[in-house]
């Protein structure tokens, strides 16, 4: 059978795109997590599950 994707192509792809993809995503995630204005949203979220009421809002 003919090889559809050569091993070298795959290695090249992993070493270029794979690297960029991981670095970019890491940066995006860190920015999201540490964005100062997000602080309040996160605090609210972590407190939200401790509310006592047990009814849907509708």
């Amino acid at each position: 059978m003919m090889t559809i994707v050569a091993h070298d192509t795959l290695v090249w792809f992993a070493k270029t795109f794979g690297l960029i993809y991981l670095v970019v995503l890491s940066v995006v995630v860190l920015c999201y997590a540490f964005w100062p204005s997000k602080q309040k949203e996160f605090d609210d979220a972590s407190a939200s599950i401790l509310k006592k009421e047990d009814r849907p809002w509708q």
Partner: protein, 553 residues
């Protein structure tokens, strides 16, 4: 329970069940002479058994609109019961398998009870039966509370829960009949796999529909973990099970992959099953139940987000650490090893986050066995991931691979982390779901905790010992360069550890049975429904944390 469904939902359910009965019958007849025929009958009988109560309630009046003022918890309740039932069954089989390794004659004469068939019954039963039902039941609970939205309809959650259990039944009964595609953790054949895809898509859509009804602007992080579990398991399941059936009404199929590609696909699946089935969903459980039970917000919400993305990205790449020293290209092995090491960071991020949340609530951990289950789970999660990253180093793996060390690692994760967090989450949910003040017997929860902890410790220490001894015996050479021990020598040396493991497993099983008893007593006898109702809308949070919550308000 059934009269809470609307007329349309009851009719819809019945149509699905009747259609499945017919499909089952067709498979049973057309597949005559093939093992698939037995599964046709199973599908038919299962669908009929579910259809009977639906028919009995078919002409009940429409439920009142009041139902929309509360969460829809019936599927979670059934899911909790199923979790305990599968747990007891599959852990019993696990202990049987453990005794088989001590005394191979403990089988019945039929092929169904041979080691090779019972072992996957154990693994599928615990991972999919016990773990999966626990995840489905708690996810329904958590998604509604965190979104403050009721499930969008009452039929699809039942479809997910019942359909999923049909899949588990097909899987487990299939192994006993000799039906398997021989891929570890993906043993069920093509038709069961296809059925699971349908169930899973409904599950995914249900989750999205609930999220879209939420009032909170931000989606609480536990939902991210549950969603990752659902999305990635779908992806893994579909790719790894790509196969061509030999015939339309035959059980046998052939994988689309071959050779080393097949091996890598399988372990890409296998390790991500660990990551997204046995870890991600259970982290979702932890991020909800642990703070709520402790009455304290999670220590660092930011850390939970970073851990989430860390785990999600990095786990994808580590499957190749299961294939060190194989035909897999060296660089792929190194890639898996490197990512496994980096993975320790987000893993410990979550474990530390859980433990730091408890900082300041240690008195509750001391008094409340339910919270203690979750605390111990976080510790074992930290331990197992550390061990895993260590075992992924190629030279360490040359010692651990093929030995009981792997089995020890598996059960440190499975018993210490997966089962402990599940029991903790269930003991927290049960009183809230059935509107009881607490579990019927806190003493039984306490007993379960100590049996589980003792069982895990005995199991894991036995396997570490035997694994390392095994590994060393296999690589000890004499002066002349011959192997010093035969394989049989190492087998004989294992026997005391296998006995210890089987006893540890028995303790763990007894704990689970104590849990079953307590569940039964709580549903039947526990006081508190009336009180909880009178107290108004609040969930009966269980004594220790309820008191703390009020104090903090």
């Amino acid at each position: 329970m059934l009269s809470k469904l609307t007329k349309g939902e009851r009719e819809g359910g019945l149509i699905i069940l009747l259609a499945m009965t017919v499909i089952g019958l067709v498979i049973a007849i057309a597949g005559r002479g093939d093992p698939i025929s037995a599964h046709g009958f199973l599908i038919m009988l299962f669908s009929m058994a579910v259809a009977v109560p639906v028919m009995r309630h078919l002409f009940d009046p429409e439920p009142s609109r009041d139902r929309l003022d509360s969460y829809y918890d019936d599927p979670s309740k059934v899911g909790v019961v199923l979790t305990f039932a599968w747990g007891a069954f599959a852990m019993f089989v696990g202990d049987w398998v453990a005794w088989l390794l001590v005394e191979p004659n403990l089988t019945f004469s039929g092929a169904w009870s041979s080691f090779g068939r019972l072992r996957p019954v154990h693994t599928t039963g615990v991972i999919f039966g016990f773990g999966g039902n626990g995840l489905i039941a708690t996810s329904f609970y958590v998604m509604q509370r965190t979104c403050r939205a009721r499930l969008p309809d009452q039929l699809s959650p039942w479809f997910v829960l019942i359909g999923y259990n049909l899949f588990c039944l097909l899987a487990v009964s299939g192994y006993m009949l000799g039906i398997t595609q021989s891929k570890e953790y993906a043993e069920p054949e093509w038709y069961a796999d296809l059925w699971l895809v349908v169930v899973w898509i409904v599950y995914f859509v249900l989750y999205l529909r609930t999220l879209s009804r939420r009032q909170e602007p931000h989606i609480y992080v536990a939902n991210w973990y549950y969603m990752a579990f659902i999305v990635v398991v779908a992806m893994l399941h579909i790719v790894n099970n790509l196969a061509v059936p030999v015939s339309l009404f035959g059980a046998k199929s052939h994988s689309l992959f071959a050779g080393v590609q097949d091996a890598l696909t399988e372990w890409w699946y296998g390790h991500n099953a660990v990551a997204f089935f046995l870890t991600s969903g259970f982290l979702g459980m932890m991020y909800y139940y642990l703070p709520v039970r402790a009455g304290r917000p999670i220590f660092s919400y930011r850390m939970s987000i970073i851990s989430f993305w860390g785990i999600t990205f990095m786990y994808m790449w580590v499957g190749s650490h299961h294939l060190h020293y194989t035909a897999l290209p060296q660089w792929v092995q190194t890639l898996g090893m490197t990512f496994s090491l980096v993975l320790l960071v987000p893993s410990w991020g979550s474990a530390a986050n859980a433990l730091l949340t408890l900082n300041g609530a240690w008195h509750k951990v001391r008094d409340d066995a339910t919270l203690r289950f979750m605390m111990v789970a976080a510790v074992f999660y930290g331990l197992t991931t550390f061990e895993g990253s260590f075992m992924a180093i190629r030279s360490v793996n040359s010692l651990s691979h093929y030995t009981d060390w792997t089995v020890g690692h598996v059960h440190a994760g499975a018993l210490g982390w997966v089962a402990m967090i599940t029991f903790g989450a269930l003991y927290a949910s049960i009183p809230w779901l059935w509107k009881r003040e607490r579990m019927y017997s806190p003493a039984l929860v306490e007993l379960h905790f100590w049996l589980a902890l003792a069982g895990t410790a005995v199991y894991v220490f036995a396997m570490w010992n035997s694994g390392i001894i095994q590994g060393l015996m296999w690589r000890t050479y004499t002066e002349n360069g011959n192997l010093a021990y035969t394989f049989i020598d190492s087998l004989v040396a294992m026997k005391p550890y296998y006995i210890a493991r089987a006893i540890g497993g028995l303790l763990f099983l007894l704990g689970a049975l104590a849990g079953c008893l307590n569940l039964f007593l709580t549903i039947r006898l526990a006081p508190g429904e009336a009180e909880a109702e009178r107290a108004g809308s609040g969930p009966a949070y269980g004594r220790p944390s309820a008191a703390a919550l009020q104090a903090g308000e």
